[in-house]
Symmetry: C2
Subunit: 197 residues, 2 copies
């Protein structure tokens, strides 16, 4: 029996197993270790299901948002995780990630290659309601983890509140409610002494 198309799909499925080895700068809620990209991608996809009612645009296509969130970090298999506050490492991030997308998605049959590449590019461009909402969720999750684990990554990397607001204010374009919630969370983190102004 021969399965040429299926074998090609399975090669991609095997390759993306490596996302489980990309470690982020985000610590788990109980602060026991950092999370992996695969775990993060799972977490934000469930968050998108639960929080879609807060998207600025009521008709957001949740299936597309979910697909974007599941695949948005795949490029980090080659490009590595870029910590959002690391401006030096971010300089060639775009170049590294575009190369990675090219290599990885080419493993797929042409129709699926096009679909995945197009979704990843839409996510990166942050212009459609789906991309704006997906990026809001992707930005919210590490803040929630940091708030709950006592500010691990904030302390380690000396991140202060004003930096977070500058870096994450795009969240307001995807969901004003979730952005307001985030501002509240950050104020509370300052009150608790786990984040500096």
């Amino acid at each position: 029996m021969d399965f040429p198309r299926l074998s090609q799909q399975m090669d991609f499925i095997a390759e993306i197993d490596k996302l489980k080895q990309v470690v982020r700068e985000s610590w788990l809620v109980d602060a026991s270790r950092k999370e992996t990209d695969a775990e993060h991608s799972w977490h934000i996809t469930i968050m998108a299901i639960l929080l879609s009612e807060y998207a600025n645009q009521a008709t957001v296509d949740i299936l597309k948002v979910m697909k974007m969130l599941l695949i948005h970090d795949l490029v980090e298999i080659d490009a590595g995780d870029t910590f959002i506050y690391d401006k030096e490492h971010a300089k060639d991030q775009n170049n590294r990630e575009t190369k990675a997308a090219d290599r990885l998605f080419k493993l797929l049959p042409e129709d699926q290659q096009k679909e995945f590449l197009s979704m990843w590019e839409e996510y990166e461009a942050m212009k459609t309601p789906e991309a704006k909402f997906a990026r809001t969720i992707d930005s919210l999750q590490p803040l929630l983890l940091a708030y709950l684990n006592g500010g691990c990554s904030w302390r380690i990397h000396k991140i202060i509140k004003s930096q977070i607001i500058t870096t994450k204010k795009h969240m307001n374009r995807g969901s004003t409610i979730l952005w307001n919630y985030t501002l509240n969370l950050l104020d509370d983190a300052v009150k608790k002494g786990i984040l500096k102004e």
Copy 2:
């Protein structure tokens, strides 16, 4: 500012972070360590997107399949991972998991609690085309990992081919093509000497 509904949803989102701490009996492709439930759930949800063309029923609702796969293992936060070939531990699995579903989903607002519980029950009952296909993907992924990592979990737990076929033959109900592919994979694993007949 007060966000009672959103705060309830965030409590659930914080609680399910624990799925990143449930370790499965499946080893990564490079055999460096076992995967977590959260990583597994991410992997199978992407697999479902890529392989939905092989579902026995052409009109399978992929959004529902994806939601099922993302949440199907949440009960293991309380109930622990039950290795599919461990018949002793499986005896009270149903009871443990039903209790877990009750506790976990009750953290959500009532409408979302109902939706998640109903999806989990549908998945468990394995009667709808979506549930049959979702379970096929959930069963295929650890076999693919074991085939690629040289049969780690098969060797450690002394699993043989006939046991796998007995335990996984329900896959044929979700996708005859993926079941045939699996039978081929197992034959090949025997030829390679990483699985006993």
